[in-house]
């Protein structure tokens, strides 16, 4: 390990990591640390995932045979409604942005936290409150409207719609706050030198998502508020019996919920870009096209909501316009898929668990996207609308793509934020289980749908039984795979192997942070490298990667090397002569010291400190600085003095709120 330790960019971590910096339940519940908030989100989301998955399995089990097996009618309606509401509002929408985005995105920016830590905590508690309200509907008779809450049914049903829409309202605000927070963070907390096109694609995706969260979610809030007012005060808004318009509700609802589909999928696309690039050891092909396509998808998503309503009675002109606009969404989606595939070309592909999920995503998203073409074609949609074809299509996009991306991302960053490795073989096995189980569940549903099986039916024509049975078997394979994955991740948190700083050879900034990161993420200012350039990274032992130009811990030395080779940039630009001289000494000394340690340890002999000091002196003489650094401690002292706001790196240290300091 000596070799490793030596070549570890930052050496041993001196500060405690964020998991251990403070202890006790209170320190978690009141934390302002984005990583802890993200981890609390993550736990909530994983629990919701299991609950929502259990509802799905109940639904699928009932569908094993026509007629009633154990739930029917109202009970069945409750279960599919709960499945939809839990999965959409509690799992998929906050899954990648609020949980993994919270944990990773600020670190990818090299920032110590998000812009508004308190708002971040508030949005988490709004999520908790919303989730509790959704759960609270169960003892009050359970919602039976479907997650879409279509009027006038949702105005008439005796089930607790008011509680549910209050929950949705709060969840909406949670989403808005998260989006707002991330927008500001990405705008203001990028380090100097990190322009928009040096942002990791994951950050681009989260940025695009945040735009939608901030602009679209208020419409959801208004819509459910109107629904509540109508139910409560009997003011005719959507109820035709009071002069309202039930189709208007659909417009309002999809004006949010269509962008919501992209709130779900775009972060997934972001992490897939990261995973494919890292595990193929290749820069993402056509970075700018991928980045722009994220933003264009986000913008286009606002103007296609009407394609959910082709048979609702909306005018034919509107249908034509929405159909045309809908097809434009296909273009950036196609670009992304082609770019991802091209990224694999001539790479060095490592089929680790996250990469298996990523490749699975490529195929599933392709199916999800292509089947979207059927539904965009007006005449074909008339036949397929509200059938299992639609069910299968949106599961391919929302689950096959988003959830698979979420699982991939979870495995990818898991070592970083927990400091533990997950069991790799089990992870690979589960990812295959997810892939095949998923396809077995939903491919038959396309056939059922085009044969005319409508959605939300607990009883069906016997001709569909074989497809339903295949689907149910697939659902169990899928459910068990995900369940094992989640359990193994919880298990690894306690018992997993210790994770190195950079287990995958990732190039973005989070891999320079200690594992797990310290309270403010970095002990030393991270050094920007060319994004998605893996030439410097070398795997020195399985799952341990280092940079061959170990410049992270010695900016001065990096500068020296940089100047010598004429490469990169002169980080000491603007420094005084004396500072330059000092940095020269450091550089030289570091080099010598590193060489010695390497050669000596590789021969199994201990390092002689006296020899190092001698090398220092030699180096000082050679550089002509006239100042001798007698000991290694002295070197560190000088470096420490140089670090914050030094000439070497543009490291924006944001203002930290005083109570945030206290938690240290």
């Amino acid at each position: 390990m000596a070799t490793t330790a030596n070549r570890q960019p930052d050496g041993p971590v001196k500060e405690p990591d964020f998991l251990h910096v403070t202890r006790g339940l209170r320190s978690w519940l009141l934390t302002l640390d984005h990583k802890r908030i993200g981890m609390m989100y993550l736990c909530g989301i994983l629990i919701s995932l299991i609950v929502g998955g259990a509802f799905a399995l109940i639904v699928r089990t009932e569908l094993w045979a026509p007629g009633k097996l154990f739930v029917s009618g109202d009970t069945y309606n409750n279960f599919f409604t709960l499945h939809g509401a839990v999965m959409v509002f509690l799992v998929i929408i906050p899954g990648i942005p609020a949980a993994l985005g919270n944990i990773i995105m600020p670190i990818q920016l090299g920032a110590p936290d998000v812009a508004f830590p308190r708002l971040n905590l508030a949005s988490f508690y709004l999520w908790v409150a919303g989730a509790l309200l959704l759960v609270l509907t169960i003892p009050f008779g359970s919602l039976d409207t479907g997650w879409t809450l279509y009027t006038p049914y949702s105005l008439e049903t005796k089930t607790p719609v008011l509680i549910a829409v209050s929950g949705v309202f709060l969840l909406g605000f949670s989403s808005i706050f998260t989006g707002l927070n991330f927008l500001v963070t990405i705008h203001k907390f990028r380090p100097q030198g990190m322009g928009w096109f040096q942002l990791p694609l994951n950050v681009w995706a989260i940025y695009a998502t945040a735009i939608m969260q901030v602009l679209a979610t208020p419409v959801l809030g208004i819509t459910v508020l109107l629904l509540a007012v109508e139910r409560f005060a009997h003011i005719g808004i959507f109820d035709p019996n009071m002069g309202g318009d039930p189709v208007l509700f659909q417009h309002f609802f999809w004006f949010y919920s269509h962008p919501a589909v992209y709130i779900m999928i775009i972060p997934g696309m972001g992490v897939i870009s990261e995973l494919i690039s890292t595990f193929a050891r290749k820069p993402i092909f056509g970075y700018r096209f991928v980045a722009y396509s994220s933003v264009s998808l986000a913008l286009l998503s606002f103007i296609v909501w009407g394609h959910h309503m082709f048979v609702s009675g909306q005018s034919r002109l509107a249908n034509m316009v929405f159909s045309a606009l809908t097809f434009t969404v296909g273009i950036p989606s196609a670009i992304k898929v082609f770019n991802w595939v091209a990224t694999l070309y001539k790479g060095d592909i490592r089929l680790k668990t996250p990469m298996l999920y990523a490749l699975g995503f490529l195929l599933l998203f392709t199916i999800g996207g292509l089947t979207g073409l059927f539904l965009g074609i007006l005449s074909v949609d008339v036949h397929l609308h509200d059938t299992y074809f639609v069910v299968a299509h949106f599961h391919y996009v929302m689950m096959g793509s988003t959830l698979v991306a979420f699982l991939g991302a979870l495995h990818y960053w898991y070592p970083k934020f927990t400091g533990k490795m997950y069991p790799e073989s089990l992870g690979q096995l589960c990812s295959l289980g997810v892939f095949f189980g998923f396809n077995l569940t939903f491919l038959p549903q396309f056939v059922m749908g085009s044969r005319g099986m409508p959605r939300r039916y607990w009883d069906y024509d016997p001709q569909y039984q074989i497809f339903h049975q295949l689907s149910t078997i697939g659902a169990y394979v899928l459910g068990i795979s995900i369940f094992i994955s989640v359990v193994s991740l919880f298990w690894s948190f306690k018992y997993g192997k210790k994770a190195p700083r950079n287990p995958w050879g990732g190039s973005s900034l989070e891999w320079q942070a200690p594992t797990p990161p310290t309270l403010y993420n970095f002990e030393n200012p991270p050094v920007l490298h060319e994004l998605y350039n893996y030439d410097d990274l070398e795997e020195i032992e399985p799952d341990v990667w280092v940079r061959n130009t170990p410049i992270e811990d010695a900016p001065a030395r990096a500068d020296a090397i940089a100047r010598q080779t004429g490469a990169v940039a002169d980080h000491t630009h603007g420094a005084s002569l004396k500072e330059k001289a000092i940095s020269d000494v450091h550089a030289k000394a570091e080099e010598v010291r590193a060489e010695h340690k390497l050669t000596e340890t590789s021969h199994g002999r201990p390092v002689d400190p006296a020899k190092i000091d001698q090398d220092f002196k030699d180096a000082a003489k050679v550089s002509g600085a006239g100042e001798v650094m007698p000991t290694a401690e002295k070197v560190e002292e000088v470096e420490a003095k140089d670090k914050p706001g030094s000439v070497t790196q543009g490291w924006d240290v944001p203002e930290v709120p005083s109570d945030d300091k206290e938690k240290k």
Partner: protein, 467 residues
Amino acid sequence: MKSIIRCLVLAAFVVAAGSASAQPAPQGSGGQTTTGTAGSAAVAPEKGTAPIVPPVSPADKGAAQGTGPEGAQSPGPSTQPTGSPDGAGGSDAGSAANVGSAAGSAAPAGAGSAAPAGAGSAAPAGGQAGVAWYDVLANKPIEESGTFWMPKSVNEAADDSDLMFYSVLALSAIFFFAITIAVVYFAVKYRHRPGHKPQPSAAHNDALEITWTVIPTIIVVFLFWYGWRSYIRVVTPPQKAVEIQVLAWRWNWQFTHANGVTDSDLHVPVNTPVRLVMTSKDVLHSFYAPAMRVKQDLVPRRYTYAWFKATKPGTYRLTCAEYCGTSHAQMACLETDKHTGSCLRRAVVVVHSPGDYERYLADKAANMLNMAPVDLGKLVYEKKGCNACHTVDGSARVGPTWKGSFGTTVPLSDGTSAKVDENYIRESMMAPQAKLHQGYPPSMPSFEGQLKEKEIEGVIEYMKSLK
């Protein structure tokens, strides 16, 4: 990289060819998917040729009458021997009633010219005593033949849309396999192994990227355009069309024909454009006949429209595609399995052979007013959707069972109680929420104006008969 481009270019060509030219071969790997028995499927087309003579001659009816004594429930049919040929005056077409309520075996007797359809269809469905010939048709198993993917379209206007479906299916298959092959090929060829290193390649290539932006753009423009054109055909009825009013409520359909005949099965003539004018009484529903490729939401207090021109006589599925609450899955279910609760017979679309539609209108109209009150009540129970919520076997569904309910005293939701007598039943139909049976949801719609006086009496008599 070249291989990808080649694949994509190839795909684009095939797409262009596919959407412009003939229908690609259906992906019929799964073979035939007929649910109906071979026998019933075979019967349907032949029957289409027989009944060219829609007006039923009184003499023949008389003959049918005489030979059908087991159809004893039909009350005095022979007293009205003159049928109205156009079937518009429902009441004076009374003699046709015997055809309806006669036993299956009675119908063939008059088969010479009066009830050829009855002859054709009653035989396989033997034993359906007392079932009208048109209901025998409706009770037949659904016929569906088609490809692995879809039942065959029987709506002329939807042929283009099917062509679009199969074209896009071919296109999708090409793209999907191209991408899958590329991914798998790369993942294998460039897999990590000892000594393997990533090789240098361009990080972007504008020409390539613009190519794969432009190609999908061209494809989707074509898809949109042809989709729009075929959609216009699917939604624009010709000037002359048979118009049928559709009313939906939880959980039944009611189709009202030009002569006032109502039914929960949709009966339509073959090779004739049929236009549906639809609305809903309560929440959203959606009229969906898969074989017609027709789907349209029904919105309360607003009319929506659909049309189709069925090309082949037969019995086809009809479902509700917009979620509408408790019994959405069993909208207009006429018969359920006792053990599983699975629906055995849903409302259907019956496409009649030429002439039979007119006969249906006449017979149905006659039938509805010339039955014994108990039978009429039973018919109303089945056809007006009472059976969606009320059982006659003693079990509770959404509403209380009818069995043995007459004469009992029931608790009401306001704490009082009421005796189930004629007046209570009538009030419960007209103002269901006025005296609500305790423990049941107030979800029953009012039937004010929906039922004729005779029908109301019939329901009361029917309830009395359920001991």
